[in-house]
């Protein structure tokens, strides 16, 4: 008899532990209500204020990773600052790209959110499921290729920045061997690698880029192993496309190898070996998108569909130069950047061959955004395999 009771009790405890741990997995960081400084009484009265728009953000990782999530997180803070009392901001970090994302979004809707930002590529499918159920809620998805009536996608042409980073890398390498630690061979990542190599080749025709795909957005041990493997091969500049960039940047500093950052400025981690990096400036874009949604002007706006901003719109840029980048190189990069902003110059133009020697871009032709975002090849000069 006693045993049975224990069994029952045990199962309850276990269930509790399970639920707790699941909650721990999914809700890390919790759903931070915005106005933390405000008194709790004020916050609760605000919640019932129907005029206030509630804006929700979900992130796939943690906010302090010197990477993709930090860039988006900072912009959500900018949105909050800009609108002040007009809106309430909900945030959730570490939301996996699964059903969990749907649940997180629905929870936010239940808390009154009418504008939602699923900020990871893989949040698209879960977000579309929720968007179908709640046609009155506006969704801004980061990086997706599909849209719906109430779901638009936005992204930046970050490959422009990678082209500029490639110039810095090509000018600084002594072995003419560059390395790239990438995540998955998806079009957006391939475009960055290709742009990087094209940039390097524009100033150093002998430069090659060896690429390693880790199969993960953030596995520090694999990042370290990959970077070490590249360094062992005599590579002296390492670029990356990972969610968290800290591990590789610090490793490069330690090993005396130049590094190119991604997503956010991490120059403080590598004062000696930092060249530059591709960075996001989501702030103004996020603010404008939220404004559009608040005004009820989403339908038919430029955000209703696929919106792509670049250097010109100020959505992407390069990080400050490290001390190893010579003035000549800096000037060259600024010139190229100017050309991209003012003359709509696109590095994916004129004759470009892929690894096998097939011509992927003919003389005089320029690839369209859609063509760039559906790349499934690596250009000549890149060492690595896609599929």
């Amino acid at each position: 008899m006693k045993k049975k009771i224990w069994k029952k009790l045990m199962s309850v405890v276990l269930c509790g532990a399970m639920v707790f741990s699941m909650a721990g997995c999914g809700n890390t960081g919790g759903t931070n209500s915005s106005s933390e400084a405000d008194s709790s009484a004020k916050t609760s009265s605000e919640k019932t204020d129907s005029k206030k728009t509630t804006v929700g953000f979900i992130f796939v990782g943690a906010k302090d990773d010197y990477g993709y999530n930090q860039a988006a997180y900072n912009a959500s803070v900018a949105v909050e600052k800009h609108f002040g009392d007009q809106i309430q901001v909900l945030r959730q970090e570490n939301v996996p790209e699964t059903e969990e994302a749907s649940r997180a979004l629905e929870q936010m809707i239940q808390k009154g959110a009418t504008v939602l930002f699923p900020t990871s590529y893989g949040h698209l499918e879960p977000a579309m499921d929720v968007a179908k159920k709640y046609p009155d809620v506006t969704f801004f998805h980061q990086g997706g290729l599909k849209t719906m009536d109430n779901l638009g996608t936005y992204f930046g042409t970050i490959w422009q920045s990678f082209y500029l980073c490639g110039i810095a890398a090509g000018a600084n390498t002594k072995s003419n061997k560059l390395g790239f630690v990438a995540s998955f061979p998806i079009p957006q990542v391939l475009a960055n690698i290709n742009a990087f190599e094209l940039g390097a080749k524009s100033v150093n025709p002998d430069a090659t880029t060896s690429v390693i795909f880790t199969g993960s957005w953030s596995d520090p041990a694999l990042q370290t192993s990959s970077a070490n493997t590249l360094i062992d091969k005599g590579i002296d500049v390492i670029a990356q496309h990972q969610d968290s960039t800290k591990t590789i940047v610090e490793l490069c500093e330690q090993k005396g190898v130049y590094c190119v950052g991604d997503h956010a400025d991490a120059s403080e981690l590598a004062p000696n070996t930092w060249l530059t990096g591709a960075v996001w400036h989501w702030d103004d874009l996020f603010i404008d998108m939220v404004q559009t949604a608040i005004d009820g002007k989403f339908d038919g706006s430029k955000y209703d569909g696929k919106y792509r901003g670049g250097l010109k719109e100020g959505v992407v840029d390069i990080a400050p130069f490290g001390k190893s980048v010579s003035e000549d190189t800096q000037k060259k990069i600024e010139e190229e950047k100017d050309k991209m902003i003012n003359d709509d110059y696109n590095p994916f133009s004129d004759e470009i061959k892929d690894q096998k020697g097939n011509i992927v871009c003919k003389k005089g032709q320029t690839l369209t955004i859609d063509e760039i975002e559906s790349m499934d090849y690596l250009v000549d000069g890149v060492i690595g395999s896609t599929k």
Binding site: L14, F20, S210, I212, G215, L222, S225, T229, T386
Partner: protein, 304 residues
């Protein structure tokens, strides 16, 4: 050059898994299976990182990792030994508990930097051609993992405590009849196992990557549990299992860097494919090596 890179890569990728195998071997030798090894490792990683950050002492970090992993393993022990909860379900819960708790508690440590442990070349030995730099230019936790193998063998097979621990895994009634307390021995085995596994997490965080990020063990603890079978529940063969996994990982990265024309997706499966192949060839013999009390657990779980 290729061989050196491969060997050193195998050791670097395999060491954290090696600690996981050592820990889980001790645990399973007393007749308990802890699927929560992954949780113990990730707790070890965070504990070591946080402690190293605040105290600037990696050694204290390692100690803290062992304590953290030990506490989580103790929770597993209390549930499955004290309360006779289902070992597989509890283990999984412990894993998710470890992952969730550390993601939550570790948030503000993602962006901080530590000095951590660095590579220490062993004089003379590191000068041996080809294998020297691979084996003897590593961090201190790698060297400890070399020494831990004979130490654990000695503990399990040459001491009275080891005999009692193993006997508990084979037949607890015999141990009881002998006048020892099999429950206590099980607690010792499980907690010790969790502590050793956690040091694997510490190796990842403060020695190899100098990084803390949520879920940074990425399944290495789960692989370790699988590799315990491959190692025949013996610390002696743990290195084989760990370095097969680590070697396959290093090999696929090397092949990618060489630009071989094999799909990256297939290359990325290498560690798991190699492990599965190794298990396939090893498993028929290994069933006999499984501690008898463990067999009971597996069978009762399968039938219930």
């Amino acid at each position: 050059m290729f061989i050196t890179s491969l060997l050193s890569g195998a050791i670097q990728c395999g060491t954290s898994v090696l600690y996981g195998i050592y820990g889980e071997t001790v645990t399973e030798r007393v007749g308990v299976i802890n699927l929560g090894t992954e949780g113990c490792m990730v707790v070890g990683a965070l504990a070591a990182y946080v402690c190293t950050y605040h105290t600037k002492s990696p050694l204290l970090g390692i100690l803290m990792a062992a304590i953290g992993g030990g506490v989580l393993a103790l929770l597993h022990a209390i549930l499955v030994i004290g309360r006779k909860a289902n070992q597989l379900a509890t283990g999984l819960t412990i894993m998710f508990l470890g992952l969730g708790l550390t993601s939550f508690l570790g948030q503000q440590y993602v962006s901080v930097s530590i000095d951590g442990l660095s590579m220490i070349p062993i004089p003379v030995l590191s000068g041996i051609p080809v294998i020297g730099t691979a084996l003897f230019n590593q961090d201190i936790l790698v060297y400890v993992s070399y020494i831990l193998c004979p130490l654990l063998c000695y503990l399990l097979f040459k001491t009275r405590l080891g005999l009692l621990l193993r006997a508990t895994g084979e037949d607890e009634e015999v141990v009881f009849a002998y006048g020892a307390n099999p429950k206590l021995l099980r607690y010792i085995g499980v907690v010790l196992g969790g502590m050793i596994s956690a040091i694997g997490g510490a190796q990842l965080a403060i020695a190899y990557t100098h990084t803390w990020i949520e879920n940074m063990t990425n399944g290495r603890g789960i692989i370790a549990v699988a590799l315990v079978v491959l190692a025949g529940y013996h610390p002696k063969k743990a290195m084989i299992g760990a370095y097969i996994f680590g070697g396959a990982q290093a090999l696929q990265l090397l092949l990618q860097a060489q630009g071989v024309h094999i799909s990256t997706f297939i290359l990325q499966m290498f560690p798991y494919l190699f492990t599965i192949c190794a298990l396939f060839f090893a498993s028929r013999k290994k069933v006999q090596a499984m501690p008898a009390e463990l067999k009971k657990i597996i069978e009762s779980s399968a039938n219930s």
